[in-house]
Symmetry: D2
Subunit: 128 residues, 4 copies
């Protein structure tokens, strides 16, 4: 499964080097993730299931300025038992790639306090 | 002059109380301000003139959640010599007002290191 | 009651103007507030009582740079029924005042979903 | 070369899951980096040389709460021509490891607009 969403840069995302700060890229991919989860899995989100980041990686290729367009493509990989991998491409929508990122996620049930199986509805969607 | 823009809530804007953190409202109005300045005064922005916040205020009326729509109306008041006031209404676009904010801004020329007169182009626009 | 705490500036607090962003001042005073509340009212904090900001204000006097020392003095005013006011002075610890801020807070019981009376223990401390 | 520094958690670092947000770890290691660079390489920092993050990675092992102690150990690896690697361990100072992170950095001269050689003073220090 692949999906795509636009992110709006804020002045506060810039740092003293006048480009988007490296930590903000992780906020951007989180924003993309939540938007897409809300769009595709709102019922699952409403159950209180949490999706924890257990590993995150980003390779920075081009700086992002305040008025640059930003699109994030998210690829959902076929999950393991309780974890799954998301790959992100941060780009301009016009051929310029700013960064490539990746998160390893775990499904976590906060009421039980433990990792749980990736819901079937998500498995089906991810394979779609 | 009045103008309006949409802001997208990010998961990172929420705090442990599960609503948008109070400091994020100031980031939201800054984002609205830069978007509108870029739209209306891009030539002035390109000269390097800075608009510094010398006072900021916000009254919080209703909490904002992750998936709530957010629109910010900005009212530009007729400026003084080097300062001007912006009033903001943060609302849902459907009648619900989340907050009212206000910033006092000063035009600052960083090359001269001092406050300078509000440009005529902005004065004209503000009065429009 | 008055209390004081140090805050450490982070590179991420700076914006493209190379000084601390105006919204970060509200994060700083929140940090000071939580540190002092944890120090003086840890039992009350543990009950889950929340302290919501219903109004916030800051006057910016001097810019803050990355390596500047920052101390925040907090003055706790005698509370009303469910609300109280905190005044903050952000300074260098060596006579330079960066900003003056103020928040109006409300005691909120999230289990009841409503404002509640300021606890007596806090009233006594505030008057001390 | 190895060095170590304390970081103070802020309420704003927490997200709606009530633990430190995953993106904040990158802000923490950046804060540690700037503190240590300021301590050891203040002259080089003053020349305007920038250290850009070209890759960042974090493995999250244990959640971090608001009042948890946080120490970051930074290991500076022997540099290549214009790049170097920093490894970070985020821990409690009492044996609990929260996360392991790594950044690949490039020395960048903004006046020339290009990557430049890692300064000899840094090479010597890193090997020490």
């Amino acid at each position: 499964m692949k999906a795509s969403t636009k992110i709006e840069i804020r002045f506060a995302d810039l740092d003293a080097y006048r480009h988007v700060n490296n930590a903000s890229y992780f906020t951007f991919i989180e924003t993309a993730r939540f938007k897409l989860f809300h769009e595709y899995f709102s019922e699952i989100m409403a159950t209180g299931l949490q999706f924890l980041v257990v590993e995150a990686n980003c390779r920075y290729l081009e700086p992002i300025g305040l008025n640059d367009p930003l699109v994030i493509d998210v690829e959902f990989q076929t999950p393991g038992r309780s974890s799954f991998i998301l790959n992100y491409i941060l780009h301009s929508g016009k051929g310029k790639v700013y960064a490539e990122a990746r998160t390893v996620m775990v499904c976590f049930d906060s009421s039980q306090g433990k990792a749980v199986r990736v819901p079937d509805q998500m498995r089906l969607a991810f394979e779609g």
